[in-house]
C-alpha cells in the first residue's frame, strides 16, 4: 500500500518536558488509522506537530513524499492534509454553510480584483463554492441546517460541521481529533458510518479516539501513545492484547 504520511523520530519538548519522544508511525493511503492513549499521552500534541501548529523539536514529518515539518498550517492544508479540533473551533457566528464556504479558500483563487470587479470567472467560482458547500452539508448529514448558526447547532452537529468544513479543503488525509467525544452510542455509530463513507470516498483518516470499541471496529491499524512514546502499533485486536498497552491504560499495578 502507498504510504501517505510518515512521522519519523518526532520529538517535541516544552522546556524540560518531552511531550513527544521519538515517535515514528506511517499512515497508508486509504486506511483508517487510530491513535489512542491515556489522557496527556501526547496525541493532540502529535496532531499539532503534524499540522504545523507546533514546530517539532526534532524529527521529520513527510506527507505524500514531501517533508512538511516547518511549513505553516495553511501550506499543509494546501497540500491536502486537513484536520478538526478536539475542542470544536467553528466560526460560531457564521452559518453552517458559511463555515464550509470558508473551507473552500485554499481551492479557490479570487483575489481583491476579482472580488471587486466580479468578472465572469469570479462569479462562476462563487457559484461553485455555494454548490460545493451545500453538497458537503448534505453529505455529512446536516441537510436543512445550512442557514443555522454554527454556534447554535447541537454538539454532534457541530462535530459533523467541522468535518464538512475540513472536507471542503479537499484533503487526501483528514486528521480527526476525538470526533465522537461526548456522543451517545447511537451518534457514535452514525459517526462511524460517516467515517466509512469518507474512506470509500477516497479520504484517508487519522483518528484520535478514546472509545476503544469504536476504534477496534473501525480502524485498520492502531498506534498507542503513552507519555509521549509509541508503546504499540498494529492491527486493532493485537494491540488490545498488548501487555504494554494494558499496563498504560490500567496502571502498573494491574499488569
Amino acid at each position: 500500500m502507498d504510504e501517505l504520511l510518515r512521522v519519523s523520530g518526532v520529538t517535541k519538548r516544552f522546556g524540560g518536558l518531552a511531550a513527544l519522544d521519538d515517535v515514528t508511525l506511517e499512515v497508508n493511503a486509504g486506511e483508517i488509522y487510530g491513535l489512542i492513549g491515556p489522557n496527556g499521552a501526547g496525541k493532540t500534541t502529535l496532531f499539532n506537530c503534524m499540522t504545523g501548529l507546533y514546530s517539532v523539536t526534532s524529527g521529520q514529518v513527510v506527507f505524500a513524499g514531501a517533508p512538511i515539518q516547518g511549513l505553516k498550517p495553511h501550506e499543509i492544508v494546501q497540500l491536502g492534509f486537513a484536520r478538526t479540533f478536539q475542542n470544536i473551533r467553528l466560526f460560531a457566528n457564521m452559518t453552517a454553510k458559511e463555515n464550509v464556504m470558508v473551507g473552500r479558500h485554499p481551492r479557490t483563487r479570487a483575489g481583491v480584483l476579482g472580488a471587486v470587479l466580479r468578472c465572469a470567472r469570479t462569479r462562476a467560482e462563487e457559484a461553485a463554492i455555494h454548490d460545493k458547500a451545500r453538497a458537503l452539508i448534505d453529505y455529512v448529514g446536516l441537510k436543512h441546517k445550512g442557514r443555522t448558526l454554527a454556534g447554535h447547532l447541537s454538539y454532534g452537529d457541530q462535530r459533523r460541521l467541522e468535518i464538512a468544513r475540513a472536507l471542503a479543503t479537499e484533503p487526501r488525509l483528514l486528521a480527526l481529533d476525538e470526533p465522537v467525544a461526548g456522543m451517545n452510542p447511537t451518534e457514535r455509530r452514525q459517526m462511524g458510518e460517516l467515517f466509512q463513507k469518507l474512506r470509500q470516498g477516497g479520504v484517508t483518516l487519522l483518528l484520535i479516539e478514546h472509545d476503544v470499541k469504536l476504534v477496534m471496529g473501525l480502524c485498520d491499524r492502531v498506534a498507542v501513545l503513552d507519555y509521549g512514546r509509541k508503546i504499540a502499533e498494529g492491527a486493532a485486536e493485537a494491540v488490545q492484547r498488548d501487555h504494554a498497552v494494558i499496563t498504560a491504560y490500567l496502571g502498573g499495578e494491574a499488569a
Partner: protein, 367 residues
Amino acid sequence: MLKSLREHPRLVMALLALVLCALPFLIGAGLGNSWVRVLDFALLYVLLALGLNIVVGYAGLLDLGYIAFYALGAYLYAWLASPHFGLHLPFWAVLPLGAAMAGVFGVLLGAPTLRLRGDYLAIVTLGFGEIIRIFMNNLNAPFNLTNGPQGMNLIDPVSVGAVSFGKPLEVAGMTLPSTYLNYYLFLAATLLVIVVAMRLQDSRIGRAWAALREDEVAAAAMGINTRNVKLLAFAMGATFGGLAGGLFAAFQGFISPESFTLWESILVLCMIVLGGMGNIPGVILGAVILTVIPEALRYIGDLQRATLGHVVVDPSDLRMLLFGMALVAMMLYRPAGLIPSRQRKREFGAQDGVAEQEQADLYDARA
C-alpha cells in the same frame, strides 16, 4: 409603507439617488453654505469610516492609528500638487498615487503587528499613528519636506478640464459654490468605496476576514494564509484612508499635522462602533451622526446668548459631555451599534439570535 418600499428596490434606489443629488441644494437653501461644508466633511468621514471598517469590522484588527493613512494621502497630494515643490500634477494622477502609497504604508505598518491581537495591537497601531504625525510635525529640517507645524498651503483644488472645484462655477445662470462641487466629487468617491467594500465583504476575501476575526487558528487550519489576509485588510483600509486624505487636502487647500491627531483616529473608530461595526449602512450612519451632531451643538452657544444673555456652558465642552454620554448609553442599550451587522448582532444578543435562528430554520425547512 415600509414593506411596499422593500418590494421595489429600484424605486428606493432612484429616490435615494434623487435625494443625494438634491441634498446640497436643500441644505444650502435651508441652512446655508456652511452646512454644505459640514456635509462635505461628513462624506470624508464616511470614506474614512468605511476604510477603518475593513480593518476593524471585517478582519477584527483594532487599529487606533488609522488617521496616519489619511495624513499620508493628504501630504502626498500636497507634495505633488502645491507650490511647496512646485509640482502641479492633476488630481486623477495624485489621488490614486496617494491611495496606493497609503496602502503600501498599511502593509509596512501592519507587518510588524502580525503576531499581536486586541489591546496589544491597539497600542502598537496607536504608536504608529503618532509617529507619522510627529514626523509630519518635524520634517521641516534639515530638508523641508512637510513645512512642520505651519503646514502646507495653497494646495491645488481638484479641477476637471477648465472647471476648478476650488472656485464657484457658473452654470445656466446659477452659481454653484465650491462646497457643492466637492460634494459631488466626494459623493462619487464614497459610492465607489461603498461598492468596493460591499463586494469585498461578500467574497472569498471577505469570508477569510470574517474567519480570521472569529478564530485565527481555525482560519489557518482552513488553508487561509492569515499573514497575507491581515496585511490585505490593513492595505485596503489604508487605501481608502489615503484616498480620503487626498480629497481632504484638495478641498481644504491647507493641511497641517494638527488635522491628524489621535483624537481623529478615535473619532473614526467611534463612528463605526456607534453605527454598527462591520455593517456598511451602520458605518455610514455613524459617520454622519458624529460629524453633524457636534456642528449642530454649536447653536447651543447662540441659544444661550439669546435666552440668558451670555454663554453659561461652552458649547465645545457640552459637545464632549454629550458625546461621552451618548457612547455610554449606546454601550448599555445597543452594544452592537445602531444598525448592527448580522454577525455582530449574533455575538451580542443571544436572545435575538435564537429568534432569528428559528426563523431561519423555518425558512430553510420550507425551501
